[in-house]
């Protein structure tokens, strides 16, 4: 950590900072220039808020942290990319993983039908919300336990692994009984107690990026899960909030290479929530794969016109089936695979 003193900081002010640093059992190296003094703080471990603590001393202009705040999710102590096995799927490997399914579980017919259709088109996992966060309390909020049962039935029927959202710690046990992967939604991405509890639950967690979360904050949220002993976190970018009104959110496709430079965790893209309109979902899906994403999570519905939520952004079965071979082609072009779709193409 480096403390940059103001021009004209007094000797006493410099001394105060040095004293504070030494009181913490750390070392302080002074570098006195013509214009100002700079103090290097060395030793370990540095208290996590040391920068804030030093910044408020009189005479300090700025404090620059040299070491990273995120640890478990970073490459420094985990030089291998994380691979997560979910039933017979490996997430984070050479192959792209496609998760698809309806926004909300509405009925067994709707969900099992969708599961069959997306499996046939190359999806490896089934998504579907039993507990739905909604901006307004007056909207459809999911079937709850009945929705979980339907997801399990769809898994039984198709063999697809299941991912569903958990919204509050009290639901973890119930959701755990049915799901293969917990999803923590964008609005709960900094609900730290939920992150910790889900971190203790012993199943992989997909952590969506919050609407205004910086990439470093996202990794710190993942740390909440990982610090509970759960290394199996999947990050999922789903669009951030910007000034552009035409898209529901702005897909930050750069998150893929940037996160991959910072972290060994797999990175997915949810093009449906980013776009908000189904017409744009294919282009964003293709872009995500080309950018290096480890997978996609796409909303698909048997009859989007009649969906209880997010119909405007859900693909029909036919649209999804038309998309997966194109995804496979791009995956191959960037040296990844999407085998199911190829097999399917061979049928």
């Amino acid at each position: 950590m480096i403390v940059i003193m103001e021009r004209g900081a007094t000797r006493e002010q410099v001394g105060d900072v040095v004293a504070r640093v030494k009181a913490l059992g750390l070392g302080a190296h002074l570098s006195t220039g013509e214009e100002r003094t700079i103090i290097g703080v060395v030793g370990a471990p540095l208290p996590l808020t040391l920068d804030e603590e030093l910044e408020i001393h009189l005479g300090v202009e700025r404090v620059v942290r040299v070491t990273k705040k995120y640890k478990l999710s970073g490459w420094d102590f985990h030089p291998e990319k994380t691979r997560i096995r979910v039933r017979d799927v490996v997430i984070g490997g050479e192959e792209i993983t496609i998760i698809a399914g309806p926004c909300s579980v509405e009925s067994e017919e709707q969900t099992v039908g969708t599961a069959r259709a997306v499996k046939a088109a190359g999806a490896k996992m089934l998504r579907g919300g039993a507990y739905k966060p909604r901006t307004s309390p007056y909207e459809f909020r999911g079937l709850g336990r009945r929705g979980l049962e339907i997801l399990a039935a769809a898994r039984e029927e198709t063999g697809l692994a299941v991912i569903t959202e958990v919204m509050t710690p009290a639901d973890i046990e119930e959701v755990h009984a049915y799901t293969d992967v917990f999803q923590v939604g964008a609005r709960n991405a900094q609900n730290y107690l939920l992150l910790e509890e889900v971190g203790k639950a012993g199943k992989p967690v997909m952590l969506k990026r919050g609407l205004s979360m910086q990439l470093e904050e996202w990794l710190l949220a993942a740390e909440y899960v990982m610090a509970q002993g759960n290394p199996d976190v999947i990050l999922c970018e789903r669009g951030i909030r910007t000034f552009e009104p035409l898209t529901r959110n702005t897909l930050d496709v750069s998150a893929v290479p940037v996160i991959q430079g910072m972290s060994h965790l797999p990175v997915f893209i949810d093009p449906s929530h980013a776009a908000g309109k189904r017409a744009w979902v294919p282009a964003l899906s293709l872009a995500a794969i080309a950018a290096g994403a480890d997978g996609l999570m796409i909303e698909v519905h048997p009859s989007p016109d009649h969906a209880l939520s997010d119909g405007a952004q859900s693909l029909t079965f036919a649209e999804f089936a038309a998309l997966t071979p194109r995804l496979a082609a791009v995956a191959e072009a960037v040296g990844r695979g999407l085998p199911m779709a190829e097999e399917m193409a061979a049928v």
Copy 2:
């Protein structure tokens, strides 16, 4: 609700929309122009997601909602401004309410000392975090129940009402036993299950605005609390996330008049989290009062240099005492009062 069909939408497409509307027991009035057809949907109640449902029909260009989504928080059915009594303080009345105190409760000495100091300077309520949301899991996260006991002791000592944050439903009962007002923080502003549970708990709730929450979404979050039968919601703007890096957040002072035009709920400003640096807190506090805010929540610490959190943005006792008479002067200039500070000035 108005459905605008595309140029060239077919008679069948128009018919499909009309049929859908009628199937819901609603009326449809057609207005056929030279360029396109517009369908007015009438009847009540309109399903909350009807706009989304109609928008995805073929031939529909746009759907425009005419009635508002928020109900309990709006003026339409509650033409009186909400006033909330908390012990002997009335929030939302003629007088401005100042809440002050440390970011985190760190010790009895620190908290009781701060309570005495801020009361002497005109504050009517004491803030202090016992459970702290932190971006990183490795930071100080509050004293928990011991923090709540200390807040109660400070109330005992000074008579100040207490507000403290609750982060998860499981803590509500415990926090309820000590606090006068629940605070729901910015990161939990769309944690809907927390909002509902706190709505059932029977004490006033201060709802901070999320970092990227639109004003209408904020009112919809308040609806979650109010729909549980709790009318006593205080809104608190604390800065939104923008591209400007110098301030911790960007204070959206316009939220005050805009919300006051939409809702009868009291609106507070938290200048400390918006600014991120104590030097800017006075200017933002004065601006908030001038803009018509019903109150302020300000961080004050006996020794900000040694605070365990948010030291950089906390005022010292002296700074806070110097600020309140200026707040009183501006409050008077805009036709509001801040009586404590005046009395104090008179002493």
Copy 3:
């Protein structure tokens, strides 16, 4: 246009709006519901600011525009995609166009050397700044006319068409003498007089998206050029300003499909300015092609460590040569071509 009156708007207020509409020679159709009155405004042409004019009448709650504000750039009156011939390159056709070159023209050796290298790797056009907009007046601002001469020399040498930025109307004539395509930069994207003057100059114009420009505003800026009789506008997305600090800007890859749905103009992506770091340029370039972009503009420099501007985001010759075959593979996967690179691969 639809005028939605407030609940409780008086008959007089409705009458005022109707009178205003009729005074403009337009028709007004009333639709009086139980709760409120809605006025449909018909006739053509609607004054461009009619919505604003009507919105301020007493009793009006909202005005909704039904027809689009952009005309020349939209599909309505130009159902064919625009193709622009620049020397022997066709922009906007089946094939992807790669533009590459240094941020600034620094010397003949640097520019001609880069031109040769990028041509060999598959680029079809050469970029290079002779006049450079810089955030600070104390930075390197380009070689001016000497820079233009160097670009012309590089074209002479390699046959590559040239694109360079024009910053002010007074420079148009000079730049016109040397360039094949004018570039209008992000900071000048709403410099309307420059847009009009460049629209009169008779050569194609690449219009970069402003840092906080909404997509509809971008098309309206293109209208400034096109309204002068110049149909040859290329749009170039280069990242927008958001709250994320790690990337220089946030690439809005969704702009590609969204604009393609609105407009017949070709859309390019500049991954270099979006990323700000060369490590992320390949992933963004691949994503852009997969999303359907008509071309890329990439910064390449013989020795980025010694570039006078934007070195951090410039690719080396070797990095660029390694990228183009990957771009060609993705282009092919999405049904587009990148022929030069293929030939090159064949050599």
Copy 4:
């Protein structure tokens, strides 16, 4: 400047950076810690892009600039606050300056009438656009020279100093002949050649903040004007672009104290463009004065319902006259004056 090398940077990489620094005639001080090496760069002047140049060397993790990029606008070399005399008005002194007038000059009657009304209510300067930047080329763009003549007539009639926008260098001479202060609009805030030309023109310049301009970039834009020998720059915050759709822009009221900490230049607020609706203009105006702004620029129109531009955000004469005494009261409460309004009140 401080260069932070990566963990594991080689001795050669460190040596390369040191060599580069020394080749520029600067000094390099090494500080070798257990984990990494840090290089302090000393000497003056540091090249302005040195941080970017060093950042791209292999083995460099980050470069931190210690000295500020803005010079003429900062306090370091100009410890007195700038006061600008415009006719008999002093901007930046104890007294608040109110500028008011129509968005566009539409007719002599409209402009002279407005000038008389705003003068009577306490305004010291008249605003009015003769050349108007408009998002669409199909909107009203001002009367041009005739508009300038009308402004001059209004000044003749009332004695109010005049401010009007200049959009392109070619218009500077003409505008100079009529105006007292040049306005550079938000969309031209980084039109550097315009800034330089207007800097040479020898009259004060009001520089509006661009829609997505960071505060430091704003000061750097002011440097373009000041570097031409013109010290008389007034900064004017008018709202920034965010995700909130209800307000036209988000007023960044924090800009007032933050800029005042960085710069000696006067800071104004334009509440009209920030709000976009007249109902919110008073609250924002009062907040601006309370926050310490040196003045306001407010849109006023004799008949906003019939304004050719920005009618929705313009105050009527009566609304403006009702506002100024309230502004005077807040100005007094924060130790500033607004004398005209007081005199007026005394009449």
